[in-house]
Amino acid sequence: MLNSIHSQGFTLLELLLSLLLTALMVMGVTQYLLVSSRIQLIMQQEALASRTLESLLLQASFSQQKKAAVKAVLSSNTCPSNLSNNSLDLTHWCQALHQLPQLKVKSSNTLLSLEWQSLGRTRRVSRQPIP
């Protein structure tokens, strides 16, 4: 029907069909942008959470005092206001509190994890707990 010998020029149906295809393509592109930006957001949040945990665990491994300080910070779930007096480097922790919605610290005997809400789901990054 599309290419029959007798028809010359498009019929309205053919034209509408091609327009439909274009519309589908546009929708595809939009969908891709949406999904891709969501993935980007999640990746960024996960990277921040991992960095935060890594930096805190590394500092906790330095000494007993640091370990206690890190534990105190993790359980307080706030960014201390007098950072200049604090010997811990809490840059990433404060960034995480600011950027990850509803950030919670969950710690058990086997896991230390950061949990936050993003795009309607609970995301989690886990590491070995502080001994």
Binding site: T22, V26, D89
Partner: protein, 259 residues
Amino acid sequence: MQKGFSLIEMLLAGLFGSLLLTASSQALIGLIRYQTDQSELLRLTEKTTLAEMALKQTLAFSADAVIIGKAVDHYPAKTPKKTHTQYSSLGNNTSFNQFSSSDWLILLTNNDEKKYGVFHLDKKSYGYGLAYKELSTKKIKSISNTLVNQVELLRFRYLPDENTQEHYCLEKQKITINEDNKVKEVEGLNCSAIEENPARGIQFAFILATQKPIKKPGDSSFYLWGETLIPPKDGLYRQLISSTVRLSKDVIPSAASSP
């Protein structure tokens, strides 16, 4: 039998067609912009990893001396100033260019052969960034190599002592900076109590910016170690990274070795 369009059909098709053409071109422009931004962000991530690795590796393999030159201006000050070091072990005056809003760091890498190097930020013909220069008494003209471009700020601090919370100087010799022919001592360092209180490690932080402005809004301010850093509003996206490295000569405390 030829059947052309009727006027109504023509109008209808024209209307739909132009709407769709606008929409699809918009979508494609959006796609291209998005991909460009995305590649900028990817480059930024790559560069932050590179800079972090470079600093971590070099610091971790440095055994002995670390002396800090403090930032003298507020961020962002991206005009490089020529900085001379007069360091007795290095004999001659060595100099390098340095952003005045950033710190710089001299490292003594270890063991049999003593090697000195300096981390600094400077601007070259192909851009600015994190650079490392080997300082030596033998080679009079050593070259400063740019390791990572687009690093805008570099800050160091000693891993402070547990009890006093003070930051220490590791070397006995004091260092003097000669900036614009003004000799002065490095401020804020307690170089007297060295042997009793060796610093365990170094904390570093840097800010990296994208090369081109992107749509994604960046942070309006960064908070680093009690200092608020306000980046310029030029549309560039910036990332602040901080980390801690222990120096290799340090004996690992028992707390860390137990599982």
